[in-house]
C-alpha cells in the first residue's frame, strides 16, 4: 500500500476513535435528557411513553425553587467579589512589583488545582475560628474566594492583549490614573470582564465540593439535588439536571464566543497552572 493510502487510513482510524470518545463524553448526558421525558421513570430500556410530568412536578416543587434562588444569590455575589478582586490581582500581576509576587500568583491560583475538599475544609475552620455562622454568606465567601483564581487568569490574559498606547496617551494628556482606569482600562476590558463573569457564574451555580462544607440551613441547588439523591433516584432529578445542563451549555458557549473575540484563539491555555 502506498504511503498516502496508509496516511489516510490512519487519519480515518483516528477520526473514528475521536468520534467514539465524543460518544463517551456525550452519551451519558443524552441518556439523562432522554429519561427526563420517560413516563416510567429512570431506568429500563427502551424508554416508553413520552411525558412532561416530571417537568411539571419540578416547577411545582417549592424547595427546588428556593434552593435555585439561593444559588442565584450566591452566584451573583460571587461574580461581583471574584471579578473585583480578580481584576485588582490581574492588574497587580501585570503592572506592579512587590515582594512575594510569585508566591501570591501561585496562591491565588491554588483553589483551581486543589481538590475542593481542601479549600472547603480550610474555609470551614476559618469560619469557626472567626465565629461566623455557616450560612449562604459563608458559601458566598468560599465561592468568591476560590473563583478569584478564574477571574485572575481570564482578566490577566485580557490585560496582556490590551493596547498600552491608549493608557499611556491618557496619562500623558493629563488624565489622573483614576480617570484612566475608568475611561480607558475598564472599557477596554469589558469583553474579558463579561466572559469571566459568565464563567464564574456558571461555576458557582454548579459548585458542590466547597459548598458541601460551608452550607448552613439554606441549600444551594446542587446541594438540594445531592440531598435528594441520598433518598434515591427520582425522574424529577433528571429534569432539573437537564435544565441545568442546557443553561450551562448556553452560558459556556456565550463565554467561549466572547472570549475568542476578546483574547483570541492562541490564548486558549485557560487552565494555566500555578
Amino acid at each position: 500500500m502506498s504511503a498516502r493510502a496508509n496516511a489516510s487510513r490512519r487519519a480515518a482510524l483516528l477520526g473514528a476513535y475521536t468520534l467514539a470518545v465524543f460518544a463517551f463524553l456525550y452519551l451519558p448526558i443524552a441518556v439523562l435528557v432522554l429519561y427526563s421525558f420517560n413516563k416510567d421513570g429512570v431506568g429500563g430500556f427502551p424508554p416508553k411513553h413520552f411525558t412532561l410530568d416530571w417537568y411539571r412536578q419540578l416547577f411545582g416543587d417549592a424547595s427546588i425553587w428556593d434552593s435555585f434562588l439561593n444559588s442565584l444569590l450566591v452566584a451573583v455575589a460571587a461574580v461581583v467579589l471574584a471579578l473585583t478582586l480578580g481584576l485588582l490581582a490581574a492588574l497587580a500581576l501585570d503592572r506592579a512589583d512587590f515582594p512575594g509576587k510569585s508566591i501570591f500568583r501561585r496562591l491565588v491560583l491554588l483553589p483551581l488545582i486543589l481538590p475542593g475538599i481542601i479549600t472547603g475544609l480550610s474555609l470551614l475552620m476559618f469560619a469557626v475560628f472567626a465565629g461566623l455562622q455557616l450560612s449562604l454568606v459563608t458559601v458566598f465567601l468560599g465561592h468568591g474566594t476560590a473563583l478569584i483564581s478564574v477571574a485572575t487568569t481570564e482578566l490577566f490574559a485580557g490585560l496582556q492583549k490590551l493596547d498600552r498606547a491608549q493608557e499611556e496617551a491618557s496619562l500623558d494628556l493629563g488624565a489622573t490614573p483614576w480617570q484612566t482606569f475608568w475611561r480607558i482600562t475598564l472599557p477596554n476590558l469589558r469583553l474579558s470582564l463579561i466572559a469571566a463573569g459568565l464563567l464564574i457564574f456558571t461555576l458557582s451555580m454548579d459548585e458542590i465540593a466547597v459548598t458541601f462544607f460551608l452550607i448552613g440551613r439554606d441549600n444551594t441547588l446542587p446541594l438540594e439535588i445531592w440531598a435528594r439523591l441520598r433518598r434515591g433516584i427520582t425522574p424529577e432529578i433528571n429534569s432539573i439536571s437537564t435544565l441545568i445542563f442546557l443553561v450551562s451549555v448556553i452560558l459556556i458557549l456565550i463565554w467561549y464566543r466572547i472570549r475568542t473575540r476578546s483574547i483570541g484563539k492562541e490564548a486558549q491555555e485557560l487552565l494555566e497552572r500555578p
Partner: protein, 281 residues
C-alpha cells in the same frame, strides 16, 4: 508608567483578601493537624499524635493507596482517551477544529453533579445499561456490579477529567512547529518514528500538566465514591469528610488533609520542574 500609589492600591486589596481568606484558612488547617480532641472539644495542645495515628493504623495507608490506584487509573484512561483526540484535532480536523474544541470545552465546565448523576442512572441495577442489556437478551437478570464499585468511580471520573487532560495536551500539540514534523518526514523518518521522536516528546509538557490535573483532583475527590462507588471504593477524602462530620475529629481530619495537600503540592512542583526541563520553548 504607573504611579506608586496605583500599584499599591491594586496590590493591597487582593493581597489582603488572599491573606485572610486563603492563606489563613490553610494555616488554620495546618495548625489543627497538631491539635487534639478531648471530651468533644478541640484542645489547642501541640502534639504529633494525629500524624502518629496515620502511620499506626494501617487503614489510612490502605485507603490512601486505593485512592492513588483509582487516581492513577483515571489519569491513564483520561490520557488514553484524550491524547488521540487532541492529536486528531490538532493535525487532522481542519475546519472542524473550532467546533470540536467547543464540544470538549462544554463538558469541561458543565456541572460535575449532573455528569456524575447521569452515570448513576446508567449503571444502577435497575439502570439504563441493565435495561439495555436485557432488552438485547445479552443478560437475563440485572447485573449489580456496574454500580457501587471502584470501576464505577474510575469510569465516572474518567468521564469528568478527560476534557481536563485534553486541554493542555491540545495546547502543547498546537504549539509544535509544523516544519519540525515536515523535516522529520523529509529526512526519511517513518510516521511512527516521527510520532515517537518528535511529536510525543514535544507534547510531554502538556501531557504532564493534564496528568497532574486528573491525578490530583481524583485523589481528593469525595463525591464520586458516595455517588457511584459504595463502601468498597471509599477514598481518602471520604475519611476526612467523616472525621469532620459524624466522627468529629477535626485534628485528625486536618492531618489527613495536610497529607493530601502535601502530596498535591509536591506533585505540582515535580511536574513543574519536569515540564521546564522538557519544554523546548
Amino acid at each position: 508608567m504607573y504611579s506608586r500609589a496605583y500599584k499599591t492600591i491594586v496590590s493591597l486589596a487582593p493581597l489582603l483578601w488572599v491573606g485572610i481568606f486563603l492563606l489563613l484558612p490553610y494555616a488554620l488547617m495546618f495548625a489543627h493537624s497538631f491539635w487534639t480532641v478531648r471530651d468533644g472539644f478541640i484542645v489547642r495542645d501541640w502534639t504529633l499524635q494525629n500524624y502518629a495515628k496515620l502511620f499506626q493504623n494501617p487503614i489510612y495507608a490502605q485507603v490512601l493507596f486505593r485512592s492513588m490506584r483509582i487516581a492513577a487509573g483515571v489519569t491513564l484512561l483520561s490520557l488514553l482517551l484524550g491524547y488521540p483526540v487532541a492529536y486528531y484535532m490538532s493535525f487532522h480536523a481542519g475546519i472542524r477544529k473550532d467546533l470540536l474544541y467547543q464540544l470538549v470545552i462544554v463538558p469541561l465546565w458543565v456541572s460535575y453533579l449532573v455528569r456524575g448523576y447521569a452515570w448513576k442512572t446508567i449503571l444502577g441495577s435497575e439502570g439504563v445499561l441493565n435495561g439495555f442489556l436485557q432488552y438485547l437478551h445479552i443478560t437475563h437478570a440485572p447485573v449489580s456490579f456496574f454500580l457501587y464499585s471502584p470501576f464505577a468511580v474510575v469510569l465516572m471520573l474518567t468521564h469528568i477529567y478527560t476534557p481536563f487532560v485534553f486541554l493542555p495536551l491540545y495546547a502543547s500539540l498546537e504549539h509544535i512547529p509544523r516544519n519540525l514534523i515536515e523535516a522529520s518526514h523529509d529526512l526519511g523518518a517513518t510516521p511512527r518514528a516521527t510520532f515517537f521522536r518528535v511529536v510525543l516528546p514535544l507534547s510531554l509538557p502538556g501531557l504532564l500538566a493534564g496528568a497532574t490535573f486528573a491525578f490530583v483532583l481524583t485523589l481528593g475527590d469525595f463525591l464520586a465514591p458516595q455517588l457511584v462507588g459504595g463502601p468498597s471504593s471509599i477514598m481518602i477524602a471520604n475519611i476526612v469528610q467523616s472525621l469532620f462530620g459524624t466522627a468529629y475529629d477535626w485534628p485528625l481530619g486536618a492531618a489527613i488533609s495536610v497529607l493530601i495537600l502535601a502530596l498535591t503540592v509536591s506533585l505540582l512542583i515535580l511536574a513543574g520542574r519536569l515540564e521546564k526541563r522538557w519544554s523546548f520553548r
